[in-house]
């Protein structure tokens, strides 16, 4: 009873507004909440925040959120709707529109949007737009146009990436590597002085490509100048070390070349360059005249390649049995593809080496991203389903609780309590009014005076007083009444104020009681409505889980096929390396045998 009363009274304490807080408009700020969610990668939450907001700003955020989630058609529609309302798109929104249009094959519209963006933005969006336009030009073999676009773009990651791709395109077309090397030098310059810390992967790619092209143009010194700058703990390290050794070998410095190849051999054979380095060691000893050690190096290479073929067979078996995502991605301790660009990955596991090699191709990245995304989606939906189960149980329990008959009786008792307090208040009010009108000073005395007068009344009521005592009490009562008379008006005001305060509280309690009563009457209906929403959501979630599972199976099969083809290709390459090692070894033995025979004949003649 006391708890219910306190609840009623708590609800009555409803002040008109908060203290010490400035007021701001909610709908303006909620868009900033959506912006935050979008920027930290929670596109679904961002979308939820602005779901019913029809403002152009929300339209742009909606388009960006859809684009982030990979829902290109919805992103394009949302952003075009904003534009058709006469609103200019922000830079991130325009970039999202262009990317969505590219994804949907609406290339010309995308190029128009990108051109506008390049013209008006010198920020990250403008740089990315220039990169995308240059990429399109490279694809259509309009290299000069790509060069012009990149030439006007400010320094930065995207411009460097564009120049690297342009250099690769030149290298495919030209037999002379001059244009490619110039483009690579520009790419390097675009990354700035902090390239090694800001963009280590891209910097390594540029240096290795430049080293390779310099070697192709038979300029080992220039190749070494690029390759010497490649760090020893990246994905491109074994390839760079192999090329480094090759450049040194071109200068007939086999000893140093073998040092580089020896370092490259420490990496798993799945990395480009590692297998070539094993073969290079044999050749290095051979060229240096250490034929016995060359034979040992070839034997070691054969053993390594045979071991690697077993590893590849095991991996293929695991992909067949567990599926590619489970066998390669999850087993490598990865749940997504974001780690691909992170430079702190472990480079010693063969499985991871093949996975990174496989993921070099954008289509492979997309395939893994699709499976990872759907797996995550399924997990999230399963969690949601379990939450819905909890909600359903809780709502059923509460519904039972509020529908219980006892509650009405408890609430009625609270109402009766309020009524009793109101009656007492009325009585007190009447007494105060009477005392005021009739000048009953003693009745209105307060504090110490009231206490003393009460004690006098008690003593008198004992009726065994002597006349002397009676007279003393009369005198004392006279003095106290005189004192009370002095504070009569003040006491009357104080009492009136107390009663007004109690009356205010009781009025608030009555209002809260009525509201609480009606809330309680509405509660079962509210719980029933929530329960029905939970059931509907549950059924929707279950049906979506089934769709996600089926879709994940399909994309999983595609990933498996792609991975199997990749592993088959790797096995073919490994077999080719094995054949080459065996041939080299056979040649070496043949050479030794011929030498031995020749020296035997020379000895015999002598």
């Amino acid at each position: 009873m006391r708890a219910v009363l306190s609840l009623v009274f708590a609800a009555t304490m409803l002040p008109t507004g908060p203290a010490r807080a400035d007021a701001v408009n909610r709908s303006d700020r909620i868009r900033d909440v959506a912006r935050y969610e979008l920027l930290v990668g929670h596109a679904d939450r961002a979308l939820h925040e602005i779901w019913n907001d029809t403002s152009p700003q929300s339209g742009m955020l909606r388009g960006e959120a859809y684009a982030r989630m990979g829902i290109a058609a919805k992103a394009r529609d949302a952003l075009l709707a904003v534009r058709s309302d006469g609103q200019a798109l922000s830079d991130p929104a325009l970039l999202a529109l262009a990317r969505s249009q590219l994804q949907l094959g609406d290339n010309q519209a995308a190029y128009d949007a990108l051109t506008v963006l390049v013209r008006r933005s010198r920020q990250a969006e403008g740089l990315e737009a220039a990169y995308l336009l240059a990429e399109a030009a490279i694809e259509s073999e309009a290299y000069d146009r790509a060069g012009q676009i990149l030439g006007k773009s400010p320094d930065g990651y995207w411009t460097a990436m564009g120049y690297l791709n342009l250099a690769t395109a030149y290298a495919r077309q030209d037999s002379d590597t001059a244009r490619s090397l110039i483009a690579l030098r520009v790419a390097r310059a675009m990354l700035g002085d902090e390239a090694a810390t800001d963009y280590p992967e891209l910097l390594q790619r540029i240096q290795v490509t430049a080293g390779y092209l310099a070697l192709r143009s038979d300029d080992p010194d220039k190749a070494l100048s690029f390759l010497n700058k490649v760090t020893l703990n990246g994905y491109y390290t074994p390839q760079a070390l192999y090329l480094h050794g090759l450049a040194l070998a071109r200068k007939d410095n086999y000893r140093s070349a073998m040092q580089s190849w020896h370092r490259a051999r420490k990496f798993p054979l799945g990395f480009p360059g590692a297998a070539d380095a094993w073969l290079g060691m044999g050749r290095g000893y051979d060229e240096s005249g250490y034929l016995g050690q060359a034979g040992e190096a070839y034997l070691a290479a054969i053993s390594a390649f045979e071991g690697e073929l077993v590893t590849l067979r095991t991996l293929r078996g695991q992909v067949r049995e567990q599926g590619g995502y489970e066998a390669m991605v999850r087993s490598a301790g990865r749940d997504d593809v974001e780690w691909f660009l992170v430079d702190s990955k472990t480079l010693t596991q063969p499985r991871l080496a093949y996975l990174i090699h496989f993921m070099e191709h954008p289509d492979a990245q997309q395939a893994v991203r699709d499976v990872a995304g759907l797996t995550r989606m399924e997990r999230q939906l399963q969690r949601r389903l379990s939450d819905l189960d909890v909600f359903e149980g809780m709502l059923k329990g509460r519904l039972k609780q509020v529908s219980h008959q006892g509650n009405s009786a408890r609430i009625a008792r609270v109402g009766e309590g309020i009524e009793r307090l109101s009656q007492r208040l009325q009585t007190l009010q009447a007494r105060l009014d009477d005392a005021g009108e009739q000048g009953q000073v003693a009745d209105l005395a307060t504090g110490e005076t009231a206490d003393k007068l009460a004690r006098i009344r008690r003593i008198r009521s004992q009726k065994n007083l002597t006349p002397e005592e009676q007279a003393r009490l009369d005198r004392l009562e006279g003095v106290l009444t005189w004192k009370a008379q002095e504070g009569f008006d003040r006491a009357r005001r104080e009492h009136a104020s107390h009663l007004a305060s109690i009356s205010g509280s009781l009025d608030a309690a009555k209002t809260a009681y009525k509201r609480f009563d009606s809330e309680l009457n509405r509660t079962p209906e509210r719980f029933r409505e929530l329960l029905s929403r939970v059931k509907a959501a549950r059924s929707q979630t279950q049906s979506l889980i089934m769709r996600v599972e089926s879709m994940r199976e399909q994309v999983g099969d595609q990933l498996d096929q792609r991975l199997m083809a990749f592993l088959d290709d790797q096995a073919s390459q490994m077999n080719a390396h094995l054949d080459r090692s065996e041939q080299q070894l056979a040649h070496l033995y043949e050479h030794l045998a011929l030498n031995n025979a020749a020296s035997g004949r020379t000895g015999g003649d002598q």
């Binding site: 912006r35 939820h48 949601r384 709502l395 979506l544 996600v548």
Partner: protein, 165 residues
């Protein structure tokens, strides 16, 4: 003739049904996004009904003077939430994003909202500052925004509160 039309119709339907897988994935993602909205809304209606709901947001307006490290929030002296900021979250706040720091329930009446924030000032000084506010919960949703800013002349980080209408 009717048979031919039927077969042609089936072929067309088959061709339409065989959309690229990427389109199917996008369509599924859109449906999941719509369901997520329904579920977020339902969760809020069940766990944080409007008459008891209180939400505390955080915005940041001291970009050049303060690097926010963490925030701890307490309601009526009880710890409500604490958050350690990543680089990405810091950037989102610096770009004008507003973070929903806390969503919970409070009875109507007066409450004390206190917050402690930590971070690095422009002068390499490490700040740990606290602020306390009296809030009054009425019957509707109560939404407050804590703003961290640094004002002239000292540009020391400070926290103030705003109420959303």
């Amino acid at each position: 003739m009717r048979l031919i039309l039927l077969i042609t119709g089936l072929l067309v339907t088959g061709a339409l049904a065989a959309e690229p897988l990427s389109d199917d994935i996008a369509s599924l993602k859109a449906d999941v996004a719509a369901l997520n909205h329904t579920l977020f809304q339902l969760e809020e209606d069940i766990l944080n009904p409007a008459n008891t709901q209180v939400a505390v947001y955080l915005s940041f307006n001291a970009r050049d003077y303060f690097v926010l490290d963490s925030v701890e929030l307490a309601l009526d002296g009880h710890p409500a939430v604490s958050h350690l900021y990543s680089e990405r979250e810091r950037k989102a706040l610096e770009q004008g994003g507003v973070q929903r720091l806390y969503l919970g329930n409070l009875a109507a009446g007066e409450h004390e909202l206190s917050a402690v924030f930590n971070g690095q000032g422009a002068n390499d000084h490490y700040y740990r500052k606290d602020a306390s506010f009296t809030i009054r919960k009425a019957t509707g949703k109560a939404q407050y925004e804590l703003v961290i800013d640094a004002r002239a002349p000292a540009f020391e980080p400070a926290m103030r509160i705003k109420q959303w209408d």
